[in-house]
């Protein structure tokens, strides 16, 4: 049988950094083919090549046996390749119909919109979606926006449907319904490529799995015959286990968030009287699908966003919700944000500068009139050694040159340098490979050992389940349920959905 999509010997690099190294993939019509690998393995990049967004330096692409060359996304679309990206390619301000019209141009706007509306209604009925073509995309939930993307791609005539980490933004229940739909699509003849890093999805829904690691294709297997351990071994290389966690006996309250309310710029409510507390020496995990206020909660705790109501009480500091940023606060509350280069690091500045900014206000690195660079370099060098930050030739090099994992270690090194009593970690292992991920987790656990109160906000339910002493489920800006270790995954999933 001829593969619907075949990629061979693909090579791609970005400014000298190789992301795809002789990678290959073959997907057939009528099957759900998973592309498995951890963060940074090259799965998205390989499919971006197939979708015409990246131009490969070497290698070939074949659709239904015929070699093709893609100069852009429209050619890929013409060949029947449709990709639903992790970051949706939707114009928020347009309606659903306008977005789909944009991707499937008709000769006239007015008549085109009507045709598209009809096509949307037909296609979404077949898939079991309920999409109103005239709703503005911005008003839809993430799950609904994803449905729009899928409908858009199918209307465009896609016979090869590529889904990039589609369940990252879905609850367990929504994920199940989506993946079941992909099986139905496959049964009717579409070739479905499912990019994922989740083993259980592969085992349950995929007919075949190709495993990638560090830009190379490592193996192609049948998931029904391969064991989970085998798959993990091929994906990750080696596994690391976390040390057993000691029971927490300290009952001092370190952080109390009371009735915290935040509104977004467009007037919608992000946080709606969110309330929770964290004790010393405990990890409080906040589980939930992204878009339910987690980002705003992290920003409020960081001091980047001022809440409209409510309090954030920290031991020894009092209510910091509306207080100005002081040295005491930045020392006591450590922040590991989701977007490293937005809130934590300045890529264009040196590693030493990025490290020193935490303590420079205290006078440690010189007076107002004269900065003491020598002490800065020394402190930075020591921190880099202590926290195993690799890839540093000189503390004067730009922070942007660090890999994701090492950049995160630098952030942690800086944030922990003043022995914080509260640690706020938002998606701390996003975009990191397994080893870096494990290093981050170790640090969070050791902070817990030292008696800090750790707030772990993460969309990765596995991460939350592994690390947390207590778990709060966040939906629509509120904590709707709390669970203690050992937590029941099903119950948590239900809590996420019931209030949605």
């Amino acid at each position: 049988m001829i593969p619907a999509l075949a990629l061979k010997g693909i090579r791609k690099s970005f400014d000298g950094v190789v992301v795809l190294d002789d990678a290959e993939f073959s997907g057939y019509a009528g099957e759900v083919h998973a592309l498995l690998g951890e963060n940074g393995a090259g799965k998205s990049s390989l499919m971006n090549v197939a979708a015409g967004l990246y131009a490969p330096e070497a290698g070939s692409i074949a659709v239904n046996g015929e070699t093709v060359s893609l100069s852009g996304p429209s050619e890929a679309q013409a060949l029947g390749i449709g990709m639903v990206h992790q970051h949706f390619k939707l114009v928020m301000r347009f309606t659903v119909a306008e977005n789909i019209l944009m991707a499937n141009p008709q000769s006239h706007y007015r008549s085109g919109i009507n045709q598209i509306r009809a096509a949307i209604e037909k296609q979404s009925a077949e898939l079991g979606f309920a999409i109103d073509p005239d709703h503005t995309v911005r008003t839809l939930t993430l799950a609904q926006q994803q449905q729009v993307e899928i409908v858009k791609v199918l209307i465009g005539g896609a016979k090869i449907l590529i889904l990039d980490e589609p369940t990252a933004v879905l609850t367990d229940a929504e994920a199940e319904s989506l993946l079941t739909m992909t099986r139905r699509l496959a049964q009717s003849g579409t070739a479905v490529v499912l990019i994922t890093h989740k083993l259980h999805e592969v085992k349950r829904y995929a007919d075949a799995v190709t495993i990638m690691r560090r830009g190379k294709t490592v193996a192609t297997l049948d998931p029904s015959t391969a064991t989970a351990a085998e798959l993990t071994q091929l994906t990750v290389g080696e596994t690391e286990t976390l040390p057993a966690q000691t029971q927490n006996t300290d009952t001092r309250l370190r952080l109390n968030v009371g009735a915290l309310t935040c509104t977004r710029a467009d007037g919608s409510t992000a946080l709606n009287k969110a309330t929770f507390f964290v004790r010393a020496g405990e990890i409080y995990g906040i589980a939930g699908v992204s878009g339910n206020g987690q980002a705003e909660l992290a920003e409020a705790l960081m001091g980047a966003r001022e809440p409209t109501q409510g309090e954030i009480w920290v031991e020894d500091l009092g209510d910091i919700a509306h207080a100005p940023m002081t040295g005491a606060r930045t020392a006591a509350v450590a922040v590991i944000p989701a977007d490293r280069y937005t809130y934590a690091l300045a890529g264009s500045l040196s590693i030493a500068d990025n490290f020193a900014v935490a303590d420079i206000g205290s006078g440690r690195y010189g007076s107002l009139g004269l900065v003491d660079r020598n002490t800065m370099q020394r402190d930075t060098a020591k921190a880099i050694a202590d926290y195993d930050v690799q890839g540093v030739r000189s503390t004067r090099q730009r922070a942007a040159l660090l890999s994701g994992g090492n950049a995160q270690k630098l952030v942690i090194a800086r944030e922990f340098s003043r022995s914080p009593s509260v640690v706020v970690a938002h998606s701390p292992s996003r975009g990191l490979d397994a080893r870096a991920c494990s290093a981050v987790h170790q640090r969070l656990l050791s902070a817990r050992e030292r008696g800090a109160a750790v707030v772990l906000i993460s969309e990765d339910l596995d991460e939350v389940l592994t690390l947390s002493d207590r778990i709060g489920v966040m939906t629509r800006g509120q904590i709707v349920g709390e669970f203690s270790r050992p937590a029941d995954r099903q119950a948590i999933g239900r809590a996420m959905v019931d209030h949605a």
Binding site: S74, G112, A265, D266, G267
Partner: protein, 311 residues
């Protein structure tokens, strides 16, 4: 009182036209995501080209306005090259264009002798018999052709931006170039198109000042109107009809100045001439106080687009 108001309002459309056309041209461009600060410069190009072609090609107003539009579009290609192809910071590119155009037009005006030459220009028309109606007739039916043309242009551009495929693409490129790119729309092409088309209106705005209002060319004659147009776009939240409203408001303010002096009211002359600029600042304050930042501008305004940018 009535004659004072009639005379004042009769002057308003003519004063408002440069602001209206300038703001609309900028809106077209900025809807595609390109922050455009070139207005002051391209209006000067249009103004000079209008007078120059009038002097050189036999005194035909209509022709000179068309040539002014083409000239401004041609010069705007330099801006397009800088910001779309070379992805230069759009603020720096815009400012440089203003000074480039100021320098170029100042230079050409002197070398060629086009400076300070009076022309007859375009005269107002009379829509008989409606122009005979007292008060209203003078205000609405005794304007020059470009005033009426401006309204037509607004209608056409509004339809083009919001009810055609091309307009959809331009807006998509401005809101989310990555999405537009993935949909197969050439971000670069549509941005250049928006710049060139928008700039033709800027040229027309400038030519109106020189060929119709003042009827000669002097270096720097736009006197900051381009910057006021930039402010108007923000005030109008990048939507055409509010921009027209804003232009009329500014037309009222600017047209009032000579009438106050003519009415015999003693005011410090130069302090009064500050009013349009102070009014613009006041308007911007009002906008800043009432709007939440960033909710009405095109999503990708000011950011250059590179497809293979890896995060």
């Amino acid at each position: 009182m009535i004659p004072f108001l009639t005379n004042w309002f009769a002057d308003v459309p003519g004063t408002a036209v440069p602001y209206a056309l300038g703001a609309l041209g900028l809106i077209i461009c900025e809807r595609s995501g390109v922050l455009n600060l070139t207005a002051e410069g391209l209006m000067l190009v249009g103004a000079l080209a209008g007078v120059a072609s009038y002097l050189e090609f036999g005194g035909h107003s209509g022709l000179s306005l068309v040539i002014a539009m083409i000239s401004a579009s041609a010069v705007s290609l330099l801006f397009a090259g800088l910001v779309v192809v070379l992805r230069v910071n759009q603020v720096i590119a815009g400012l440089s264009m203003v000074f480039f155009c100021q320098g170029l037009t100042g230079l050409l005006g002197i070398i060629t002798g086009w400076q300070n030459k009076r022309i007859t220009g375009l005269l107002p028309m009379t829509v008989w018999p409606l122009s005979e109606i007292p008060v209203v007739g003078k205000i609405f039916f005794m304007q020059d052709a470009v005033v009426y043309l401006t309204v037509v242009i607004y209608i056409v551009v509004n339809w083009w931006l919001f009810s055609t495929m091309m307009g959809l693409r331009i807006r998509a490129v401005g809101e989310n170039p990555a999405a537009a790119d993935a949909a197969g729309i050439s971000v670069s092409l549509y941005r250049v198109l928006a710049i060139v088309i928008g700039s033709s209106l800027l040229g027309l705005a400038g030519a109106y000042i020189s060929v119709v209002s003042v009827k000669l060319w002097v270096s720097g004659m736009t006197s900051g109107r381009g910057w006021i147009a930039v402010a108007l776009v923000v005030f109008a939240r990048w939507a055409p009809w509010p921009a027209l409203g804003g232009a009329l408001l500014f037309g009222c303010i600017e047209a009032l100045i000579p009438h106050i002096a003519a009415a015999g009211i003693r005011v410090p002359q130069y302090l009064v001439m500050m009013t349009p600029y102070l009014a613009t600042i006041a308007v911007m304050i009002w906008v800043g106080a009432t709007q939440s930042v960033g909710t009405s501008e095109p999503g990708a305004l000011g950011q250059p687009h590179v497809r293979e940018e890896r995060r």
